[in-house]
Amino acid sequence: MPGAGISLKSYLLARVALVVPTVLILLTLVFVLMRVAPGNPVSAALGGHVPPAVIKQIARQLGYDRPLYVQYGVYLWHIVHGNFGITITDRRHVTRIIAVNGAATLELTVAAMLVALVVGIPGGLLTGRFRDRPIDAVGRLFGIVLYATPVFVLGLLAQIVFGSVLHWLPISGQASPLTEATLQAHTNILVIDAIIDRNWPALRDVLRHLVLPAATLGLVFAGVFLRLVRVNVIRTLKDDYIEAARARGVRERAVVYRHAFRNALVPVVTVIGLEIALLLSGAVLTETTFNWPGIGHELYIYLENRDYAAVQGIVIAFGLVVVFASLLIDFVNAFIDPRVRYQ
């Protein structure tokens, strides 16, 4: 049909083009927020520890005494060249923190997302398929409770039950101190590092440490997916083409799983992109609760130490991950959504 929809190519190009202003707004917001607070990042981090004259000297060295527009230009220039700054309290390159600790967060969030999908999608399918039956009531309650419970509360409960009472699982760290001390850091994703080294005891140890934090974070989002898939399954089952399939004698199982379910999953892909941002913020709380050495944990430490230079760099990294993950999800959505046509 002439003029109907936009071409896939145009859609993708438009989405890529939108990334530039999105990133610029993000960077500008972070820059402004860091400078609106009284004082400067140096006095916030070192105030009370060193004489005022030294604080002034360091602030001058780091350029905090220059005009704001100059600071902004230098800031953008550094970001474009991958320089996210250096922490004030312990002199670490933020880029290095993102690389090393970001790998730990990636490990946690991927595992959590798997848990969320494995629990949430089948759960949503079952509750949608057997609507208004006991299984639906239980499933909905399960989803609401999980979604409503703060992630750190769930985490503490998990630590107490599975760690302290049942003694089944470790309650902190990415691995035991011994494993961390001996395992070679190839990728800083310890599951992969253990596989690379063919260190099976280390792999078992790392997986055991991953269970509680991944389950905690994943279950919170499983509640979201469960409810979303349920609603979409119910809606899809009411569509005309489903009625037509039933009228043609297609078996109910095939109607549900081959026709309705696939279409019900399309919005879930979009939500995954939105949930990535929430997953990262949830990771901050989860990592702090479980002493998981991810980037969220580092953000918490630097916030406590008032190292705003570090906070700035990490928040920018978070923001960029969300922007680009959303872009990727939009790409995937464009391919699977049949409403985007080639002209």
């Binding site: 309290t89 101190p177 001390a181 430490i301 008032r306």
Partner: protein
């Protein structure tokens, strides 16, 4: 409609069973972990800044440095008197402005380089040159120069007489580094190999996660009893407590909340070990602004300070009441505040001193405290002080708080009376007096200045014998109690919590506040 094939149901049920069994398998693969006998794992909530000694001024980093590096002088367990380490002895000349140390021979760094006087001179000069804001260079403010005479003799030339210079050599400022490895004008990054002469080598350091040490076979002294040491960093004490209870770590040193200590003391298979501590807590007055510019007001508050209640009810006995800025157990300590104000609060005496000075009551006063630097109990601590002062009918207290970054910049510049704590750079009475009572020290910005006190402190620094120095220390404590620009009220204990197979901790709990991991053992 025909019968559905049960195949997928069977497959789904099998999948669920396998998942549950797998989870159970992974979960039950171990019950409570047991750390091996050749490895000691310590948990802490301390943080590490720069491992390079020239860039560190916090306890957590000092703990790491202490395993790798050494000083010219140190402390034997249980003693607060500096004793030989890398130096076999240090002596001052008659003017107490030149200190000459004879160095130990046959010592090598962990990379095989020989330890000589060049390394000593380099280490001190470098600290001053780098002048890092996170470093402790201020402790060397009295150092004019360092000269060497041959490979095993070094002389420190001071600007002013200082009888406590040998104590300075025991601080973070006195760590000795290899001049062939460490840059003269900047810090060595944490990612580089740190080289010292200490009993342990740092083999792996993951910031915020752990520091892994291995005993160094070439150490000149006694080998550590446990060959492997891991310090694991926790961001929350509650997580550290669970890890300790589960056996994931062998011990924990610094720091739990008072409530957590009380809970751990009741936990089977855990021991809470206490020794004398050196951290103190005190209330500072700005003596230039009303109402604290009135000596009578300050004295009245000193009569009412509820030390016992704070120590027992709020800190569950983990701190002890303090009656002098110099903590109990330190040479020179006297209970000066007990002598002047009595041991227990007295409303009658507080009232009398205010009446004598014609001060109208109730006196309105604002007390400041900070919730983000001195632990969770600070709120209760200051609520208790407020309660005690208000209950006397003589004061009307307003409590205010500020977050540390703002609080630390403000102190006496704006606050009339405020909370502070102190942890010494070196375990000597001088470090509890000079920073607080000397006119030239602007540490508190509280306006206190007494020429008589300055004279006493000047005599103390220039004293040529310990006996003479302690005489001036006691005089300073007495005058401090009479002038009362500061009211000390508690002294913390050195506390560690450990599993029963860790030995030797009690022997290292002393006023130097050093956790000597190399002396600990495991059965």
């Amino acid at each position: 409609m025909g019968q559905g094939k049960p195949g997928w149901r069977v497959a789904a049920a099998t999948l669920v069973l396998v998942a549950v069994a797998g989870f159970g398998g992974v979960a039950r693969a171990g019950t409570d972990p047991q750390t091996p006998a050749n490895t000691l794992i310590d948990g802490t909530t301390d943080t590490v800044t720069n491992i390079d000694p020239s860039g560190n001024y916090n306890y957590g980093t000092d703990t790491v440095d202490r395993e790798i590096f050494q000083h010219l002088l140190g402390y034997k367990p249980g003693s607060t008197v500096p004793s030989p380490v890398l130096a076999t002895g240090c002596k001052a000349d008659a003017t107490v402005t030149e200190w000459t140390c004879t160095l130990r021979q046959g010592v090598t760094f962990q990379n095989g380089d020989k330890f000589t006087s060049t390394d000593v001179a380099f280490s001190f000069e470098r600290l001053i040159k780098i002048h890092d804001p996170s470093g402790i260079w201020s402790l060397l403010s009295n150092l004019k120069s360092v000269t060497t005479k041959g490979p095993y003799s070094v002389t420190f030339h001071l600007k002013q007489p200082q009888s406590t210079w040998e104590y300075i050599l025991t601080t973070i400022a006195g760590y000795i580094v290899d001049h062939r490895v460490y840059p003269a004008d900047r810090l060595l990054p944490d990612s580089s190999t740190q080289i010292g002469t200490g009993p342990y080598r740092l083999v792996k350091y993951a910031p915020g996660q752990d520091a892994v040490f291995k005993a160094w076979k070439g150490f000149w002294g006694t080998q550590p009893k446990v060959p492997n040491l891991i310090i694991t960093y926790f961001s929350k004490s509650s997580t550290m407590k669970l890890a300790l209870q589960r056996g994931e770590i062998d011990m924990a040193f610094r720091d739990f909340t008072p409530t957590e200590y009380a809970s751990l003391a009741k936990t089977k298979d855990l021991r809470v070990l206490k020794g004398p501590g050196v951290a103190i807590r005190y209330l500072v007055f700005n003596v230039t602004r009303p109402p604290a510019n009135s000596l009578a007001v300050r004295q009245a508050i000193a009569y009412l300070m509820p030390r016992e209640t704070i120590a027992n009810r709020i800190y569950h006995g983990n701190v002890t009441p303090l009656y002098s800025m110099v903590p109990a157990g330190m040479p020179g300590h006297i209970d000066a505040f007990t002598t002047v104000y009595g041991k227990t609060p007295s409303v009658a005496k507080a009232k009398a001193v205010l009446e004598k000075a014609n001060v109208k009551t109730p006196v309105a006063i604002t007390l400041w405290w900070t919730p983000t630097h001195y632990g969770e109990a600070s709120a209760e601590e200051y609520t208790e002080i407020e309660r005690a002062l208000d209950a006397s009918g003589l004061f009307q207290v307003t409590l205010k708080s500020a977050e540390w970054a703002t609080y630390a910049k403000t102190l006496g510049a704006q606050y009339d009376a405020f909370q502070l704590g102190w942890f010494p750079d070196y375990p000597d009475a001088e470090d509890y007096l000079v920073p607080f009572y000397g006119t030239k020290s602007d540490f508190l910005s509280n306006g206190y200045s007494n020429p008589k006190m300055d004279a006493i402190l000047g005599h103390e620094k220039a004293a040529t014998s310990t006996g003479e120095r302690m005489k001036y220390v006691r005089e300073a404590e007495t005058l401090a109690a009479e002038d009362v620009p500061i009211i000390p009220y508690w002294q913390g204990a050195m506390i560690a919590v450990a599993r029963p197979d860790v030995h030797g901790i009690q022997g290292t709990l002393d006023p130097t506040f050093i956790m000597r991991f190399w002396l600990l053992s495991k059965s």
